[in-house]
């Protein structure tokens, strides 16, 4: 899922300050799971903003709350149309893709981000999320036992560990597991340690963002 965290109240207040009627628009998928932008977070942010405006700005603000299933898909976005029409601005609690989808779909409405999109990751346990994928566009997980060195090795090494790994932890930060320690353990368990005999040439980053914004085309799905 896409992991994000809500922006500080102060920053959000500054961005909505010029507007009187604000629609806080939640997204019921990824950002809901990471407690950044689902229905509950919309409700809490609305309450916090009302309190903050009364306290600091000495004025009230009209806030409408709505959460749709997904802000990154047109089918769901339409549900927000009426609410957008009633308000001066949309404060989107979706990821960056959701915010941009809303802005494209409703060009006349200012759409502001309320969340900092952080990474593609998983929930390790309740309340703790960690990065797993960099979206490099050329997945090599098959060679590495399902553990991505591009994302999880701090140095993005593809041909084995550096000399700084200690007791399975990374020298960059001892709270980070050494990806190569994990890869070797996993490949040993799978009986695939020989995978590491194959030299991996320097990564071609053209499939990542180095070539500019990426686009995926599926001809068979185009109507």
């Amino acid at each position: 899922m896409i992991v994000g965290e809500q922006k500080p109240i102060k920053e959000i207040m500054e961005s909505v300050a010029p507007y009187k009627r604000v629609l806080i628009l939640g997204c019921g998928t990824c950002v809901k799971t990471c407690f950044a932008g689902g229905e509950d977070e919309v409700e809490v942010l609305a309450s916090a903003l009302r309190l903050a405006f009364k306290t600091k700005k000495q004025r009230s603000i009209e806030i409408e709350e709505l959460t749709i299933e997904r802000q990154c898909e047109n089918e769901f976005i339409q549900e927000a149309a009426a609410g957008i029409g009633r308000n001066d601005v949309v404060l989107s609690l979706a990821c960056g893709a959701g915010v941009q989808a809303m802005a494209e779909r409703f060009p006349a409405a200012p759409v502001l981000p309320g969340v900092n999109t952080t990474f593609i990751g998983i929930q390790d346990r309740p309340g703790i999320f960690s990065e797993r994928c960099s979206g490099c566009g050329d997945c090599g997980l098959a060679r590495f036992g399902g553990i991505c060195p591009v994302t999880r090795c701090s140095k993005k090494l593809l041909n084995g560990p550096c000399g700084g790994s200690q007791n399975g932890k990374c020298e960059v930060d001892p709270s980070i597991d050494c990806a190569w320690h994990l890869i070797i353990e996993r490949l040993t368990e799978l009986g695939q340690l020989d995978n590491l005999k194959t030299y991996i040439p320097p990564k071609n980053w053209q499939t990542s963002t180095s070539g500019g914004p990426r686009k995926l085309v599926r001809e068979d799905q185009i109507i």
């Binding site: 500080p8 809490v44 916090a48 309190l51 903050a52 009364k54």
Partner: protein, 130 residues
């Protein structure tokens, strides 16, 4: 019981941690919310209490390690810490929100907490968003 001049306190309490009695609430205008467990406390309920005009919000949870749901008090405490941070961000002041472990058999201790909270409100002034 309500008067405009008295500090307004909203009290969320676990039914196993506190029993309501009038003397405990002397000197304040109190609104109470009874819960089956302090873990039912959520950030939004606490914020709404401030929106409704509370000068301070208290949560009474069972003494440590005596929660019948094992970790109810721990969860409540974490949520209160989170909400205090939100209150600081909004300018309300996180000190207006607090959680205490109270013993249902010790109403005097609860009364002391209420009195200290009234003193704190007198020091901080009324809820700035009220």
């Amino acid at each position: 019981m309500k008067t405009n001049n008295k500090p307004k306190i909203t009290l969320f309490y676990c039914i196993n941690a506190f029993m309501e009695s009038a003397p405990v609430f002397e000197g304040c205008s109190i609104k109470t919310i009874k819960m089956a467990c302090s873990s039912m406390t959520k950030d939004i309920f606490l914020l709404k209490a401030f929106e409704a005009g509370a000068d301070a919000v208290l949560v009474f949870a069972c003494p440590e390690k005596q929660c019948r749901y094992v970790e109810g008090g721990i969860r409540a405490r974490k949520r209160i810490e989170w909400t205090k941070h939100l209150l600081d961000e909004t300018g309300i002041d996180g000190r207006r929100l607090a959680i205490f472990n109270t013993d249902i058999k010790d109403p005097k201790a609860a009364g002391k907490i209420i009195r200290e909270t009234i003193e704190l409100i007198n020091e901080l002034g009324p809820n700035p968003a009220a």
